[in-house]
Symmetry: C2
Subunit: 371 residues, 2 copies
């Protein structure tokens, strides 16, 4: 039973630094490509047995300390009623994009048990198959980042449509964000109920906002999500997570609960200018991208957080000795934090040599072990 990841999230004493990799179930793994050769991306997300299989692949291949549910941040957006398609080079396309009141009114707040049950099934399979080997992280896009996809109709270069809606029709934006935020809350609550042992909120695009706009137009919705999850956490029946007691609850509908609450990780892409705002979010762990030294981030966040990060994904193209040197540097810099989970500063790239990812994981474990 490996709970070092959960302990690091809570700032408890651990014997080595845990590590996982954003997008660790992905195209850089031959095993993953084999499955993707048979089914398209969305089908993979929606087939619990397959989604569970690719979720587990990197645990065996790399020896990471946590599994993260294989899914896509746009799954709940599709469940809200938008048409979602993925194209090989262009990425996700949501068509038609959300630009007016009528299109917002048509969106629903999905019931995850009905509309995204495949995700909850995947989680239940994973808890069974992982069987305590490593904890399982659930996730959702953060409200602002999800809204950018809905308003832009996909990815964007300058997020002009999103900012136009925010700046020119703030009430419209607020009504969209209310629905998105409620969706994220229900989605994460149901993931936790199904067995997710930690959850990560991905605010990949929040860094395109100025600090003032972030504070006003993204952060309040993140806080609403975190407050809600924390409230649910404290209401759940408690059962202490130690090797002596099994991580799965015995009765109920596959439910999960722990004496400690389910940690919440909040990741913001390009966070360097926003940390003074981010530190009010209420999460347990702040994910840091690679564009800032992690000791600088720790200093600015203060001592209430564990941190996660922050190796440049491109650093996995370095020779192994150099990867090791950089791992050591980040471990040293993060040592001032309450807790540290090693990770990349963004998702692993498809071109990454798998042996270099494995070398990183090994270096983290080796160099961080307390004697």
């Amino acid at each position: 039973m490996n709970y070092v990841f959960l302990k690091a999230c809570r700032g408890e004493k651990i014997s080595y630094t845990p590590v996982w990799i954003m997008r660790q179930a992905g195209r850089y793994l031959k095993q993953y490509q084999k499955i993707r050769g048979k089914v398209d991306f969305l089908t993979l997300c929606k087939t619990p047995e397959l989604a569970a299989e690719v979720t587990i692949q990197p645990i065996d291949a790399l020896g990471v300390d946590a599994a993260i549910l294989f899914s896509d941040i746009l799954i709940p957006v599709e469940a809200m009623g938008m048409k979602l398609e993925f194209f090989e080079k262009k990425g996700p396309v949501l068509n038609p994009p959300i630009r007016n009141e009528a299109s917002i009114k048509k969106l629903s707040v999905p019931n995850p048990e009905e509309d995204m049950n495949f995700v909850l099934e995947t989680i239940k399979i994973l808890r069974r198959e992982l069987n305590g080997k490593v904890p399982l992280i659930g996730f959702s896009g953060a409200p602002f980042t999800m809204a950018t996809y809905m308003i832009e109709g996909g990815t964007s270069k300058n997020f002009l449509q999103t900012k136009r809606m925010i700046f020119q029709t703030p009430d419209l934006y607020a009504s969209l964000m209310d629905k998105v935020t409620q969706t994220v809350i229900e989605y994460l609550r149901s993931q936790i109920k199904a067995g997710a042992q930690a959850v990560q909120l991905f605010d990949t695009w929040a860094g395109v906002l100025s600090p003032g706009d972030y504070k006003k137009f993204a952060l309040p919705y993140v806080k609403r999500v975190i407050d809600n999850i924390k409230t649910q956490n404290s209401k759940l029946k408690t059962q202490k997570l130690t090797p002596a007691s099994p991580p799965l609850s015995k009765g109920g509908k596959g439910g999960f609960s722990s004496q400690e609450s389910v940690p919440i990780i909040y990741f913001v892409g390009e966070c360097a200018g926003l940390l003074e705002e981010i530190k009010t979010c209420g999460a347990d762990v702040i994910g840091i991208d690679w564009r800032i030294n992690i000791d600088d981030a720790v200093k600015r966040l203060g001592s209430n957080f564990s941190v996660q990060g922050n190796l440049d994904p491109c650093a996995l193209f370095l020779p192994k000795e150099e990867i090791e040197r950089r791992v050591k540097d980040i471990l040293n810099r993060a040592s001032s934090a309450r807790g540290h989970i090693f990770n990349l500063g963004h998702g692993i790239l498809p071109e990454t040599p798998v042996e270099n990812a494995a070398a990183m994981v090994e270096a983290v474990h080796k160099l961080s072990r307390r004697r």
Copy 2:
């Protein structure tokens, strides 16, 4: 004669805050579109009379306090020997990209007087036509940003090819950077000799590097450029720039010199995590993007710099009262700096309503005027 911009660069006392806009000569202006309807982008860059004309357009249309040479940061890259094309949606394409020693060996360090004389001609025309109305800013891409285009073959999402070269073949990268840096030095020297009264180094993509990599693989080349320009500055014959003496030198080959040296502005996109490194660069002015509060940037840079920035380009889609409110906020925040030049945090977007850009300029002048 309006020297408030140059004075702000040097941290001298001024009666109001000067303002110009990155990409102020551009598609948001009907006058510009009219000319672009007749010639393609590269032809416009290479036709001194037309390039001068579009350079002057925003001075009249918006009342900004400086003109910036209309050109493209890839002009010297073409002069180094790469094939440069522009496509409507895709942007610039350099084909074949630089990936090995042979392709670096083939690159030359151009002689600006021969290979980019159209730029110098444009500057000379501009100094004549502006006739001291506002100062003229010359510019170049900073070495790292220019190298990314050369290695990627255009713009990039994750700059993997560039980082691969840096990480896997650092000597190859260094040999490329030597040529690029020498090119930038010669290019800026010749622009100053032709009459540029300030120069801006655009390091648009340096923010994709971690602070450690920035320090090692981008900043040293920026310092080399700045040191060289400063040395030339101090060698140039002096002629004081006051309303009493004309801004153009009377004799010589259209040369320009001032008792004070030509200020150097260094702009880094996504600078928030890099400021502790940037402050060692030696420039007079640091350009700040919108992803950080400018008072936070000033605090971290210290008192040796003037700052330039930093309104989100998308904020020009706000109602005018709100633009004014944001201008006021930035003016207040920047008041702790030695000097402040108002600007956007990145280039103005083609979709921008011109009346909003004008409203911003007016607000800067009105709200900053000392009584």
